[in-house]
Symmetry: C2
Subunit: 446 residues, 2 copies
């Protein structure tokens, strides 16, 4: 996954200053860190884990090149011992994680790192950067999937995603959540995500005649004829499509769909459907795009808009109604002792943890337990070992498998949690062992 292989310098300066501090103090015992989300954004009922694959790729490849070491040296901030440490750096720790595509809830770790504290600390920034964004988008996209059953869903977010990597990893996260593909060609090249797309308004505008533009396009892309009909007058363009269809049919070309990108999409879709049906184009779909998200799609489908597919872009890849998650990567244990942050409003559960999930008789998720790894509850343990001493331990689910895991978990979600509005929270119980440990840590500190 080339896109995530960025320089080891993509980190917060404080990681380096802290590392130099640890080295000076000869502190390099084993530390345990966990990544979790503190609370759900408004109107969200669950989250979908994504980003693990790129995290593992990062852990396997993160290094510091000679020119990067020289750059750090020149800043004058670092001593030789620290620079030598970086020069020889590679990650040697263990990783437990929830597979991509799994549904999870606040306070539940989806990643646990066990490594000498210098290593575990150094990787913090990029781990958060990767897990946060992909989980954010997968969680948003899953809502779109729930809002649009049996519709074709295509990610159109590349142009207004926040940079190249967001566009790529966002396309991948949306695919895990159940999208069928993306407009992003590089996402197909790198991840095998099917790419979709036909024409922009400029293609119509560059021609003197809209019907001529349609015909040129159909002959250039005979297997992929989706015609954009809203450049001038949507219904008039639908009539042109009907008039063009017999000539294309004679050449063996079918019009797969028309696309509408502006105006009242439900109203246009209904009118266009009638025009296409009357013109014998019952098999031609109607694809809608333009400022869509789960709320707008729900509204359109509630109006019985005859739309067969949706292009969902900006609002999904920016997760515009909740553009970030309150998440953290926190120290849980150092040198065998549990640790806990107690800053106001930001207290964490200490120790190395596991999450167990139980299901009811119909296979629906019935409740999770957050407990110490050493406790061993009943139910399905959600965190699995995925890396040992810096090497992958198991065949990890590929992209297709992650997509299936997500579809399965969405099916098993309690019905109330599938709502686009806030529902009563899913039950996550904190184990007795964990509560006792938190109290013990506080007492030790007090």
């Amino acid at each position: 996954m080339r896109s995530t292989q960025v320089s080891g310098l993509l980190t917060d300066l404080y990681q380096f200053t802290m590392l130099q501090g640890y080295l000076e103090s000869h502190m390099d015992e084993v530390a345990v860190y966990e990544f979790f989300v503190r609370k759900l954004p408004p109107r969200r009922n669950f989250l979908v884990a994504a980003g693990l694959e790129s995290v593992l790729d990062y852990l396997l490849t993160v290094r510091f090149a000679p020119d990067e070491i020289r750059f750090l040296e020149k800043t004058g901030r670092f001593n030789r011992r620290f620079l030598d440490y970086l020069e020889n750096f590679s990650f040697s720790g263990d990783v437990y994680a929830m597979p991509e595509g799994r549904v999870f809830f606040p306070d539940e770790p989806i990643l646990r790192i066990t490594a000498p504290i210098l290593e575990a600390q150094l990787i913090e920034t990029r781990i958060i950067n990767l897990l946060h964004y992909q989980t954010l988008v997968a969680s948003k996209a899953a809502r779109v999937v729930l809002a649009a059953p049996n519709r074709l869903l295509v990610d159109f977010g590349l142009r207004r995603a926040h940079g190249a990597e967001a566009a790529l990893l966002g396309a991948r996260a949306a695919f895990i959540a159940g999208f069928h593909g993306s407009s992003n060609v590089l996402a197909e090249h790198l991840f095998g995500i099917p790419s979709y797309g036909t024409m922009a308004h400029s293609f119509i505008q560059a021609h003197d005649d809209e019907a001529a533009a349609f015909e040129h396009f159909a002959h250039a892309q005979p297997g992929n004829v989706v015609l954009l009909i809203d450049t001038y007058d949507t219904e008039a363009a639908a009539e042109k499509v009907v008039r063009l269809a017999p000539r294309l049919k004679a050449a063996g070309i079918a019009i797969r769909a028309v696309r509408i990108d502006s105006g009242d999409l439900a109203d246009h879709a209904k009118k266009v459907r009638r025009i296409l049906d009357a013109g014998g184009l019952k098999d031609t779909g109607i694809f809608a795009s333009g400022n869509l998200d789960e709320y707008e799609i729900q509204r359109l489908l509630a109006q019985d808009a005859p739309i067969t597919g949706f292009g969902v872009g900006t609002r999904m890849l920016t997760s515009s109604d909740a553009p970030y998650l309150d998440c953290a990567y926190k120290l849980m244990e150092y040198a065998g002792h549990a640790r806990r942050k107690r800053s106001e409003g930001k207290a964490t559960w200490p120790g190395r943890k596991q999450v167990y999930r139980t299901y009811d008789g119909e296979g629906r998720m019935a409740g999770d337990t957050l407990c110490l790894d050493s406790e061993g509850y009943t139910g399905e343990p959600l965190l699995q070992m995925v890396m040992k001493e810096g090497k992958r331990t198991a065949h990890l689910p590929g992209l297709a498998e992650a997509r299936k895991l997500c579809a399965q978990d969405l099916l098993r979600l309690p019905e109330a949690l599938k709502s686009l509005d806030g529902a009563p929270p899913y039950p996550v119980t904190v184990s007795r062992g964990l509560k006792e440990m938190a109290a013990a840590v506080d007492e030790h500190r007090a």
Copy 2:
């Protein structure tokens, strides 16, 4: 600027299908496209142009590698003529643009591309992707700068920015807008943006004793002593800092600042200021962070919180109150004829345009005119030629110069527009020539 050199495949599939259509129809006359923002997000009064440098870098370097051509060939969607075109692709057009750091308003183009339509179309997606995000963040960061006069402002957004490129280009955009630096080390390596940072809570937690953690850190980073004091009890930690100071002073180490990252920041800052002052640490600053944005900073300073610097992260690099701009890259002219999109709610002004700005007697911005490039108004023309036939034409302002341009424009903003809330819109007049051309284009189409 390595970060922006991504594969030419980072584009929407429809660019390729359209190009094949143009090639089939032998359409490759000169086209003019412009990038502009349609309207301001809520509560915004102006925008700051950013991203041009990375756009020019992209135009100079975009190519298609042999393995990428083979990938496209294998999809079965494209013919040999199109693949040959891509294989030999390089950008040969002209570019006019507003320099980075300039303030601008809706409907004003900040970039104009003149090139054969195949080239001008192919680059659309990445141009929007680059200009949109950087302009979004520069515009957000400028508001933070206006809210926090004479305070140290540091970008802390890397971990929750949407991916690696957002973090990098966001740090750069914030710097243009007036930030002093970033926590992002790679941004210093690539762009020369000063990096800032000292320690996380985990550094304190990993030590058995908070005061020992402070002392270890000070000796490891004697020139950069900023101590994080909110891990357990903020005021108690400030007392520890006071007790530690004489010992450090004896070793020649000064405590530059303390950092508070949680709780009621104004209240803590006042109490901590009193503790530090009473302890003789009048020169030790108070740096605040944690969910900050321009609104929160304005609120803190209105309460006279004695805070000398702010770390602003997630909410700035995700532009969380307005995570995207309604922007477009549109065809304005093809083969010498003006073009115009008329889709509902998305109509554009046709033709190749220029923007002229006038100033009042005190040097304040008094109004802009959006006109045809051929009209030649009075005032300061904002679009300049920056590339001719695929080559850079002029020394472009570097990062430091862009930062100065932005500071100058923020000074020249009408006072009402500096508010964090919506103000009456800045006057942008559409020239008579432009209105006549729009009417003529509509008549031709009607």
